[in-house]
């Protein structure tokens, strides 16, 4: 499914050509498997044949949403810092993670906790990070995954470096980097896409297109008809998927990851979703969008969609749902309690990770901070 088809190798010393001459042609394709009601629109991919993986994806989304709700509750009661909800976008993160292997490396933005949890970042670690504790980025699970990246798009070049490392070591591993629609306007993201193309890196970029960058709607972010076409500038493949259809996300990212692993180079995937929540707990979206803008998108809800599908196939019943919700909320409450019971690190840890070994003048500052007089 080549998205970029090169018509003629441009002859520099060119013989006469008929004008006007089309020298390159591109198309962007869109894919989805389930309609908003959960009905299959086409034959499902293999992984969706049996219940196992679909149920896992479902659980991943439910867990992400439950974590989200808990995080907001903690923030509202002053026990967590500013938090960016992923409400309605769970299929993007979970679909990504479901398509990756353990040994791959994930470079998230800040709205992909569904993927981080799937990959083994613990609930406690996520609470710690959003609670303002650096230990929240010291993942016990996926040791090579990157921490949440707050400066928008700045992790895209990191992904290039990680993927280049894999390629140089001849490892069959893939880096997957997620960022938002707003990030696609950043120069570093464009530089990263271009470099991934030059070196044909095992790298998959996923645009978590929730149609808003805080208050800026997609139409004011770019004149591009799709964000997948950002790939054209880099000469790499780009495609678009329904980001609220976890099967579509899982399938498209799966294809891209397999291609990358096989040496086929990078891909840019635009996952179309919608930010149902405020930008963060510090935001009031009613300042710039109306409920009327938002409400239709509730009908797109990825969790309801997959649940309907599972129920329709007899894979999922009320009892399963209740069991899952109970299990998930128990896990989250337990993690929240652990987080809340975790005292901050000692003040000296401010110094201890600035360099591998503490330089002399910093050691003096450390002493001063601990109350002792400076030397």
């Amino acid at each position: 499914m080549p998205s970029a088809e090169k018509i003629v190798e441009l002859p520099l010393l060119a013989e006469a050509v008929h004008e006007p001459d089309v020298v390159a042609r591109f198309e962007i394709r869109y894919s989805r498997f389930l309609d908003p009601k959960g009905n299959a629109l086409r034959p499902l991919p293999d992984f969706a044949a049996g219940p196992a993986e679909l149920v896992a994806l479902y659980r991943g989304m439910v867990l992400a949403r439950a974590f989200d709700a808990k995080a907001i509750a903690l923030q509202r009661t002053g026990r967590l810092g500013t938090f960016p909800s992923a409400l309605g976008q769970e299929a993007v993160a979970v679909g990504i993670a479901g398509a990756m292997r353990k040994e791959d490396v994930f470079l998230p933005s800040f709205r992909e906790h569904g993927a981080q949890l799937w990959r083994g970042v613990s609930l406690v670690e996520l609470f710690l990070f959003w609670g303002g504790d650096e230990r929240g980025s010291d993942f016990a699970g996926p040791r090579e995954d990157f921490p949440i990246c707050v400066p928008v798009g700045t992790h895209a070049p990191h992904a290039v470096g990680v993927a280049l490392a894999f390629k140089l070591r001849r490892e069959a591993r893939v880096a997957v980097c997620a960022f938002g629609d707003g990030a696609t306007s950043k120069g570093d993201v464009a530089e990263a896409l271009n470099m991934a193309g030059v070196w044909q890196l095992p790298l998959v970029f996923v645009i978590n297109n929730n149609h808003w960058a805080i208050s800026v709607p997609l139409a004011q972010q770019t004149a591009a008809a799709t964000l997948a076409q950002k790939a054209v500038a880099a000469g790499i493949e780009g495609e678009q998927v329904d980001g609220n259809d976890v099967i579509a996300v899982r399938e498209a990212v799966g294809r891209a990851v397999a291609k990358a692993r096989a040496g086929g180079g990078p891909t840019l995937i635009e996952a179309l979703t919608y930010r149902l929540s405020d930008h963060t707990t510090a935001d009031d979206a009613r300042r710039y969008r109306s409920d009327a803008d938002v409400s239709p998108h509730w009908a797109e809800d990825p969790i309801t969609r997959l649940r309907n599908h599972l129920v329709g196939r007899g894979i999922w019943a009320k009892a399963d749902e209740e069991r899952l919700l109970a299990e998930v909320s128990a896990a989250i409450d337990k993690a929240a309690d652990t987080y809340l019971a975790t005292p901050p690190q000692g003040a000296e840890t401010i110094f201890d990770f600035t360099y591998e070994t503490l330089p002399k003048d910093l050691a003096e500052q450390r002493r001063a901070a601990s109350g002792a007089e400076p030397e």
Binding site: G81, T82, F129, W130, G131, G132, D133, E134, I148, V150, P151, V152, G153, G182, A183, S185, K186, G187, D188, A213, I214, S215, V216, Q220, Q221, T222, A282, D283, R287, Y288, P344, Q345, A347, T349, I350, F351, T354, D361, L362, Q365, A369
Partner: protein
């Protein structure tokens, strides 16, 4: 006349400048409908319309760069960078172009632009939202660097910055945005961009600071006063160009000086002030010049932040050392 806080004063100055000069534009991320994430540009879109208040795509480098183009064309862009943690992509344009356009064209083109950004910590924000990079800009020839510490100074200094014919980096202490309210007359009166402000007169020791640290510093001065020590508190306000004379005069009077800032100690702008005192004020020094600053570490996340920010206790400790010095 109304009692307003610092961010409202910024808003008032922006509105005033836009009303009096059609060349003044406000641009940046979320400055229009949203009115800025801190509401600094609240209501400007409604009042001045979409040709004067522009939401930009998410691209700080180009925000600074397009401001250079607008300024060269006679507009006076006031660009907002949402947090100083995101101002770094704009440095290339500020250093290589905004600060040089006048010089490299021998005055043919100039760059009357302002880059505003909330700066500093203490608001329990997430990563990259609490930095104080003023020293990086104060080192750049051709730039002005201004940091207000009260609603009145925010109003008067921002008006001056917008009217200034050269590029100004205007860093607003986020921690003070809603900290205090002040009566402000919207009379369009600007404050000078080449003058320090003496916030409190004193005779025993000079405390030099700027931005949010003026609060802890004034607090320390109060404590000292209660102990019979008369501390003079200077708010530098405009770091570049620096009003060296006011600082030297004060040190000539007190003979003792402590410089306080939130940014990391090493290479912080306090070093420049101490260096000027060590050169031109040495004679009058009765004690070493001390600096109380952020540690030379990464700004911690909220849980440890309070251990990073210079506290009134640390200021007092340094002041007492300096005062006790024989």
């Amino acid at each position: 006349m109304s009692e307003i806080n610092l961010v409202q004063a910024v808003n008032l100055a922006l509105a005033r400048a836009m009303a009096e000069d059609g060349a003044v534009l406000v641009l940046g991320e979320d400055v229009a409908a949203e009115g800025g994430v801190f509401r600094a540009t609240d209501g400007l879109l409604q009042r001045f319309g979409p040709d004067r208040v522009l939401d930009t795509p998410l691209a700080e480098n180009a925000i600074a760069g397009l401001s250079v183009g607008l300024a060269a064309q006679g507009f006076r862009p006031v660009a907002e960078i949402q947090f100083t943690g995101f101002i770094y992509p704009a440095i290339d344009q500020l250093v290589n172009h905004a600060s040089r356009l006048r010089n490299r064209t021998r005055g043919r083109l100039s760059c009357p632009m302002v880059v505003r950004s909330p700066s500093g910590g203490g608001i329990r924000a997430i990563e990259h939202h609490s930095e104080s990079p003023e020293a990086m800009f104060a080192h750049i020839p051709g730039l002005r660097v201004v940091i207000p510490s009260s609603p009145a100074r925010a109003y008067g200094l921002l008006l001056a910055a917008i009217r200034d014919p050269d590029p100004v980096v205007f860093l607003e202490p986020t921690r003070l945005y809603r900290a205090a309210r002040e009566e402000i007359e919207d009379d369009g009166a600007a404050l000078p961009l080449d003058r320090c402000f003496v916030l409190r007169e004193g005779t025993d020791i000079t405390l030099v600071t700027w931005g949010a640290m003026t609060r802890e510093t004034l607090g320390a001065a109060d404590t000292l006063a209660a102990e019979g020590v008369s501390a003079e508190v200077i708010d530098v306000a405009t770091l570049k160009p620096l009003d060296t004379d006011s600082i030297l005069e004060s040190v000539a009077k007190t003979g003792r000086c402590v410089i306080i800032h939130e940014a990391p100690l090493t290479g912080g702008f306090g070093a420049e002030i101490a260096a000027r005192i060590a050169q031109r004020g040495l004679v009058s020094l009765l004690a070493p010049v001390e600096r109380v600053a952020g540690w030379d570490t990464v700004m911690p996340l909220p849980r440890l932040e309070q251990h990073y920010l210079p506290s009134e206790a640390r200021i007092l400790e340094a002041a007492r050392r300096v005062l006790a010095y024989q």
